[in-house]
Each structure stands twice: as structure tokens, then as C-alpha cells.
């Protein structure tokens, strides 16, 4: 659909003419002030030590521990199987 087709279309007109909605003045001002406060905070302050350690745990330590546990489990299964059915 081209822009011209869109302009000629009654159904599109009906949607286009729906009125604009907004939040209350009070709510809008409260959010504005909150955003201003955040904007004036330096970006470095957003990155806390806690957030960094969370990321490290999620991306590195968790998978490494999980992998090690799986490997140990597999080795133990092979060892026991070998003990039962071994030569």
C-alpha cells in the first residue's frame, strides 16, 4: 500500500482520525522529572559493581560450573559402567 492509497482509504481515515490520548498532567510531569534526574546522572553510575558481578555470574561462572558438573557426572557413569561390565 502506497502513501497515496493510504490517504484515499476510508478505513485508514477512520483509524487516522481517532483522537489522541494522553496520561494525566500529573503523571506526565512525574515521569518527566524522573527522566530528567536519570539523564543528569552520569552513565558510569548506572553500572554498579553488583550488576557487573551478576553479569559475570550469568555469563561465565554459571556455564563453567554447569559444564564441570555434567562432565563429572558423565565420567562417574562411565567409571561405574566399566566397573560392572569391565574386562
Amino acid at each position: 500500500m502506497t502513501v497515496d492509497e493510504r490517504e484515499k482509504d476510508d478505513v485508514f481515515d477512520a483509524v487516522a482520525n481517532l483522537r489522541t490520548r494522553d496520561v494525566s498532567r500529573r503523571r506526565a510531569d512525574r515521569l518527566r522529572n524522573r527522566c530528567h534526574a536519570l539523564l543528569q546522572t552520569k552513565p558510569e553510575e548506572h553500572v554498579t559493581l553488583g550488576a557487573m558481578s551478576d553479569a559475570l555470574l550469568r555469563r561465565v561462572i554459571g556455564p563453567v560450573l554447569g559444564g564441570a558438573w555434567c562432565l563429572a557426572y558423565l565420567v562417574e557413569i562411565i567409571r561405574r559402567a566399566a566397573a560392572i561390565h569391565g574386562p
Binding site: 500500500m1 502513501v3 493510504r6 482509504d9 476510508d10 478505513v11 485508514f12 481515515d13 477512520a14 483509524v15 487516522a16 482520525n17 481517532l18 483522537r19 489522541t20 490520548r21 494522553d22 496520561v23 503523571r27 506526565a28 515521569l31 518527566r32 524522573r34 527522566c35 530528567h36 536519570l38 539523564l39 543528569q40 552513565p43 548506572h46
Partner: protein, 196 residues
């Protein structure tokens, strides 16, 4: 993709520099648009207000890392849309009846005559009602293109689909809405109403 408005470049540059005046310009322009979109998608004022807060907080948190060629409108609608779908997935929102939206109806706008005012109010109510019964996928493309004026290419980027797929979805959405409107005697009156 639509070429970037030179004003957008400056606005983004100022936002990246944490300029609160630039934020206010963007906020005053897009807050009602994004809120209207979220309200019509979620059909709940409370949910729309919460998602709106989150969308603006995301803009502020990412302001310093915005790409210089970021187009603020599509960026905000993308965030708002993703927040809506994330909310919808998390809360497994049940489809509710159109009556919920109708209860949000604000006081009538000024129109040339009391008759026009009543007729237009009724028409708009019917369009809102029909729109709210469409699937969210259809609703979002109609709202983005027809109400917010995004180009199909921009709307496709917002929805994360190919422009051709969006055009197809838009065409189906339009047909579905037209059918819903035809189910009520609204469309004929609607054509007359908006023509005047």
C-alpha cells in the same frame, strides 16, 4: 527506510549529550502518540501507563549510546511494541471485550454542531470498538501506519518483519477492520462523517 529529518540528527545528538531540553521536545511530541498506541494495544489504561513509563526510562538509559542516525519515532514505537509483547507473553493476557475500552472514553471533543459531535463520537466509538476486536498483530500495523503515520517500511522495522510481509498484513488488517465495521451500520455513516 525513510530518510532522516535533519532535526532528528540534532535532537539525537543533544539527547546523547543528556540535554534535558531535547528530552522535553521528544517527550512532548511522542508521549501522547506512544501512550495512545500502548492504550489501544493493551486496552488497559493502567498497563499502558506502566509500559509508557518503562519505554521512556529505556530511552533515558540508552540516550548516551543511541546511534547518531537513530530515528526517535520508530525507535520509541519499537521499544513500546516490544514492551507490550513482553507484557502480553508474561501475563498471558486474556482477550477482553471491547467494553473495557469504551469505558475509557474521554469527554467529547469540540465539533461544529451538537449533531456532528454526537455522530462523530458514535462513529469513533465504533471504530475503536472494531479495532479492539482485531488481533494484536493486525491492530499494531493499522495503528502504526494509519494512526501514527509511519511508512510501511518503518512500521515493518518496528514490527521486526519484512516490508512485503507488513504490506500483506496491513492489507489483511484493513480488510478485517472493514468487515468489522460493515457488521455494524457504521461504515456508510463513517464515510459521510469524515467527508464533511
Amino acid at each position: 527506510m525513510t530518510p532522516m529529518d535533519p532535526d532528528d540528527w540534532q535532537l539525537v545528538a543533544r539527547l546523547r549529550a543528556s540535554d534535558t531540553d531535547a528530552f522535553d521536545e521528544v517527550y512532548d511530541t511522542y508521549r501522547p502518540k506512544v501512550f495512545g498506541f500502548l492504550l489501544r494495544m493493551s486496552r488497559s489504561r493502567t498497563v499502558a501507563e506502566d509500559l509508557l513509563d518503562e519505554a521512556w526510562l529505556r530511552l533515558v538509559k540508552h540516550a548516551s549510546s543511541l546511534r547518531p542516525d537513530t530515528r526517535i519515532g520508530p525507535w520509541l514505537f519499537t521499544v513500546a511494541r516490544n514492551l507490550y509483547w513482553s507484557y502480553r507473553r508474561d501475563s498471558l493476557v486474556e482477550e477482553t471485550s471491547a467494553h473495557e475500552l469504551l469505558s475509557l472514553w474521554p469527554s467529547p471533543a469540540s465539533w461544529p454542531s451538537p449533531f456532528d459531535m454526537a455522530a462523530a463520537g458514535e462513529l469513533e466509538r465504533r471504530v475503536e470498538s472494531a479495532l479492539s476486536t482485531l488481533s494484536p498483530q493486525y491492530r499494531e500495523v493499522l495503528l502504526l501506519v494509519a494512526h501514527e503515520g509511519l511508512t510501511p517500511t518503518d512500521a515493518a522495522a518496528v514490527c521486526g518483519i519484512a516490508p512485503d510481509a507488513l504490506r500483506q498484513r496491513l492489507s489483511r488488517a484493513r480488510a478485517a477492520l472493514s468487515l468489522k465495521l460493515d457488521e455494524t451500520p457504521a461504515i456508510a455513516t463513517l464515510k459521510k462523517g469524515y467527508a464533511t
